[in-house]
Amino acid sequence: MSYDRRRYEKLIAGGADAAAVYRVARADGLATGPCMRLLRELFDLGVGDAKEVMLVADGVAASRDAHEGRIADALEKAFD
């Protein structure tokens, strides 16, 4: 899915951070992959950093480390 990059560049020019841009992109209907690409392009982020922005902005977890810790918990329980 393509997107209007200029729309998000204007948000950044207005002071929006990566989380704010991500929330707007999601509201615009962008899926996970395009959102990741957008964040990486606009903020020069690695994959891991972009993941963290998305997880925290969505309120899924306080950090990527904490989120993955929960995944570890769930998998350990499932493997037992």
Partner: protein, 230 residues
């Protein structure tokens, strides 16, 4: 993707690109689209943009060479081949293969690219109340389906989603008669999760990030499974 000076045309709604290109003199339109085609490995996508910019839809693609030779030169052999190959490849899908790809959350528009061996993105629909979606990429190789998880947005930890993802990926592999599944966990930060995966036989590696996710490289934990295992 290095497209110095051309990036303003990429990753934007086609109608914007069409408007901008249409405002250029014809000679510049040709040159700009030709550069776009040369600059990108995404020939199919750029071909689509070029076709749209020139007022053509897919069905018109083969007519253009007869009607307006300069346009066929602009579209270029690479994109022409890319678009046609993707379309032809997608036409060979069986209903079962299509159903499995849809189940994983691969978009229909990406079927052709998938069959050509390009990594395509998926967004697997939620399988639990606490999950939004599970996003990643999937790639068809000669002997395997390679499937990478980028993000599991599940406040419950995601075990149900991950096992559903595993099951569906195996089903995709079987539908395409591939004997192996390569699973990749991408950019894992949590040491406990890394150790847990290592105990399950996952190994660290560095792989290319699909261009649709921004390119570059990333660290992964990966493991190859035999489709007869599950």
């Amino acid at each position: 993707m290095a497209v110095t000076g051309l990036s303003k045309y990429l990753f934007r709604p086609v109608e914007d690109v069409v408007r901008d290109l249409s405002a250029l003199p014809v000679a510049e339109q040709e040159a700009t689209i030709a550069q776009l085609l040369e600059a990108s490995e995404h020939t199919a996508e750029i071909g689509e943009v070029a076709m749209s910019a020139l007022g053509l839809d897919d069905g018109k693609l083969l007519e253009l060479a007869l009607e307006e030779p300069w346009r066929s030169g602009v579209i270029g052999e690479r994109s022409l081949v890319g678009v046609r190959t993707a379309q032809n490849a997608a036409a060979t899908l069986t209903k079962a293969q299509e159903a499995q790809l849809l189940s994983l959350g691969v978009g229909k528009h990406d079927f052709g690219l998938f069959l050509m061996g390009r990594p395509v993105l998926f967004e697997m629909p939620a399988v639990t109340d606490t999950q939004e979606a599970l996003g990643g990429f999937v790639k068809l190789t000669d002997d395997a389906i390679a499937s990478g998880i980028i993000l599991v947005k599940d406040q419950g930890g995601g075990a149900t989603s991950l096992f559903a993802f595993r099951k569906r990926t195996f089903e995709v592999a079987r539908a395409f008669d591939r004997p192996h599944v390569d699973f990749l966990g991408c950019e894992i930060k949590n040491h406990r999760l890394g150790r847990l995966l290592a105990r399950q036989g996952f190994e660290p590696a560095t792989v290319d990030v699909p261009e649709d996710l921004g390119g570059g490289t990333m660290a992964v934990m990966h493991k190859r499974y035999d489709t007869r295992d599950s």
